[in-house]
């Protein structure tokens, strides 16, 4: 039965799990133990862009307490996984490519954490090195090596290289907009990789339940059903053969949208028939899991002497790293937010989601819109300065209000409080000035 919302709205509500989190009783993935549990650890790539020519696991297999070492050779039929494009391998096989330092080459399963760690340290590789592409501008050049060979991953309408996806944004008539402008201001903005850094690293326990013929995974996930579907298609089993049991999540901020320990745990428990635990170290989490996308944002803005914006031409180049993850959606969204809360009649925009050999970009708070704020509000300050206008007044003049049309053609018809917010912020600033 539903409770009366008036008991909650406008009142302080105690979180249902707050008490268990203050006593240490809340169970996070790494807090789960089974009696005969094994520990798994992943051998990561030894080069950011190279063909794996040889993988020697014999020394790892000889470590006392190592139960098994799993490589792509053991599971040749695994499918790639990924949130939008299925472009990420579960394990890199011989003559296949490692595309960033987080790619998995082998899984060592052992009786103890120490043995698993030692096993990983004794795996040897031989690789054929390729040019490492750490910059999306280089990635798009004609003579750049192609990071993913699979053709269907690229936008075939674009003559440039290594583009996972491109998107357009068109509103009004850009030529007319610039013709109307008294001043045109062009700038380029760049943002950097950011680590979401949830305090709980990727971790979990996997157990193949032979009675139910089901792989059970205790892993903290932000997309529990998408993860289930992706794990199942990667393993080539029906979805109902994979069950994710969600423990408490120790923070995520977008970083736990992607697959991490899930499929490796599934393989380790299928291979051994025992429950297996895997926990990334902080270092491994930083190397192997997603980041906020660094963007290169080129903006050309037209404005009248009276402060009215007339045109915006924008190009967004997003470094999605070795794998697409949420990249096509994040960078697409960034493009769509390129005006910020300001109304501009004529817009022409283009975005590119570009593969490189950097750690892959994924979801993080704001999902592409955050990076754009640095560009559009810097642009607003620079233009105000050039016009000799007060930056607040300039913003107020162009801010969304009821009836405004956004860059994507949405008419804002309710709860548009940008101007009220600006006015209130001004008042607070003046109060503070007065106090000095």
């Amino acid at each position: 039965m539903l409770k009366n919302p008036h008991e909650y709205v406008g009142h302080d509500v105690i979180k249902v799990d707050a008490e268990s989190k203050t006593t240490g009783e809340a169970v996070y993935p790494n807090d789960i133990y089974f009696d005969d549990m094994l520990y798994a650890r992943v051998k990561r790539a030894t080069h950011p862009h190279a063909y794996l020519k040889k993988l020697d696991i014999s020394k790892a297999e000889a470590v006392p307490d190592v139960v098994t070492v799993i490589t792509a050779e053991d599971y040749p039929d695994l499918n790639n996984f990924g949130l939008i494009l299925k472009d990420q391998p579960v394990l890199v096989g011989i003559d296949e490519k490692m595309r960033f330092m987080g790619d998995a080459l082998a899984i060592v399963v052992a009786e103890t954490r120490e043995a698993a760690r030692k096993g990983v340290s004794l795996i040897e590789t031989e690789v054929e090195e390729l040019e490492v592409i750490s910059n999306p501008i280089r990635a798009m050049e004609e003579d750049s090596p192609i990071i993913h060979k699979e053709k269907n991953m690229y936008d075939s309408n674009i003559p440039k290289r290594n583009i996972a996806r491109s998107n357009n944004l068109i509103k009004g008539d850009i030529d007319k907009g610039f013709a109307e402008a008294d001043l045109i201001v062009e700038n380029e903005y760049t943002t950097q990789h950011l680590e979401q850094l949830p305090l709980q690293n990727e971790s979990g326990v996997g157990y193949y339940d032979s009675i139910d013929d089901q792989i059970k995974l205790w892993v903290a996930s932000q997309w529990i059903h998408d993860s289930q579907a992706d794990i199942a298609q990667s393993l080539g089993v029906d979805k109902d053969k994979v069950r994710i049991i969600q423990p408490a999540i120790g923070g995520a901020f977008g970083k736990k949208e992607d697959i991490s320990v899930h499929i490796h745990l599934a393989l380790a428990t299928l291979e051994t028939g025992k429950p297996v635990k895997m926990a990334y170290s902080r270092e491994e989490s930083m190397i192997a899991q997603s980041k906020r996308h660094p963007l290169i944002i080129k903006m050309k803005t037209g404005v009248k002497n009276n402060g009215k914006l007339t045109a915006l031409e924008v190009e967004v180049i997003g470094d999605t790293g070795a794998y697409a993850s949420s990249g096509p959606a994040v960078i697409h969204k960034g493009l769509f937010h390129s005006t910020g809360p300001y109304e501009i009649e004529n817009i022409k925009g283009k975005s590119y989601t570009v593969y490189t050999n950097n750690t892959y970009g994924g979801a993080m708070r704001g999902f592409g819109a955050t990076q754009m704020g640095f560009a559009y509000d810097s642009q607003m300050d620079i233009i105000a300065h050039k016009l000799g206008m007060d930056p607040l007044e300039f913003r107020y003049k162009n801010a969304f209000e009821k009836g405004s049309e956004t860059a994507t053609g949405q008419i804002l018809n309710r709860s548009v409080n940008v101007k009220e917010t600006l006015a209130e912020a001004k008042e607070m600033m003046e109060d503070k000035e007065g106090q000095k």
Binding site: D12, I14, K15, D17, A18, E19, S20, K21, T22, T23, G24, E25, A26, V27, Y28, N30, D31, Y33, E114, L197, P198, L199, Q200, N201, A248, I249, G250, G251, A252, F253, A279, S281, R282
Partner: protein, 163 residues
């Protein structure tokens, strides 16, 4: 090679066998089932594994289990008084200082250590007292509120007991 160590945890005497490389954090979590102390970084940066050892706040990921021989340790599981929550725990709940909760046990241990030594800390002293603990959800404001609320409640509790 395993070594025998004796220590007290949350008032209970324990004897355990540990290897030279076992960390106090592993001993607590793997062998004693006290999983309230969390591993966030394994390098003493985040404070999620904080416990009180011989009256001193320590990060259990940087203490070897062998170093705990003969010591007295309090973990988050030992903060409750019987079935009742400690005032610090109540204050964290009431102040909305708990979000994902992963830093909370460490934050509460750091708060306990601070208030045991300084029952009426200033905002600056609270920030200093919790400076070894990282929270990625709250932005710290609610946590500082919780420490202030704890100090107040503990002081009035103390004066009631003395009356």
């Amino acid at each position: 090679m395993e070594y025998e160590i004796e220590f007290t945890v949350n008032g209970e005497k324990r004897t355990e066998f540990v290897t030279p490389s076992t960390r106090l954090l592993d001993l607590l979590r793997d062998d004693l089932g006290l999983t309230g102390a969390k591993e966030g970084c394994g390098q003493g940066e985040c404070g999620a594994c904080s416990v009180i050892m011989d009256g001193k706040l320590v990060v259990s990921c940087l203490i070897l289990a062998l170093q705990a021989d003969g010591s007295e340790i309090i973990t988050i599981e030992g903060v409750k008084k019987g079935n009742d929550l400690h005032q610090i725990q109540k204050s964290f709940i009431e102040s909305g200082a708990v979000q994902c909760g992963f830093c909370t046990p460490g934050m509460i241990m750091a708060t306990k250590d601070l208030l045991d030594k300084n029952p009426d800390p200033s905002s600056e002293e609270i920030k200093r007292g919790l400076s070894g603990n990282i929270c990625r959800c709250t932005g710290y404001a609610k946590i500082i509120d919780a420490v202030k609320m704890s100090a107040k409640k503990l002081q009035s509790e103390g004066s009631e007991n003395n009356a």
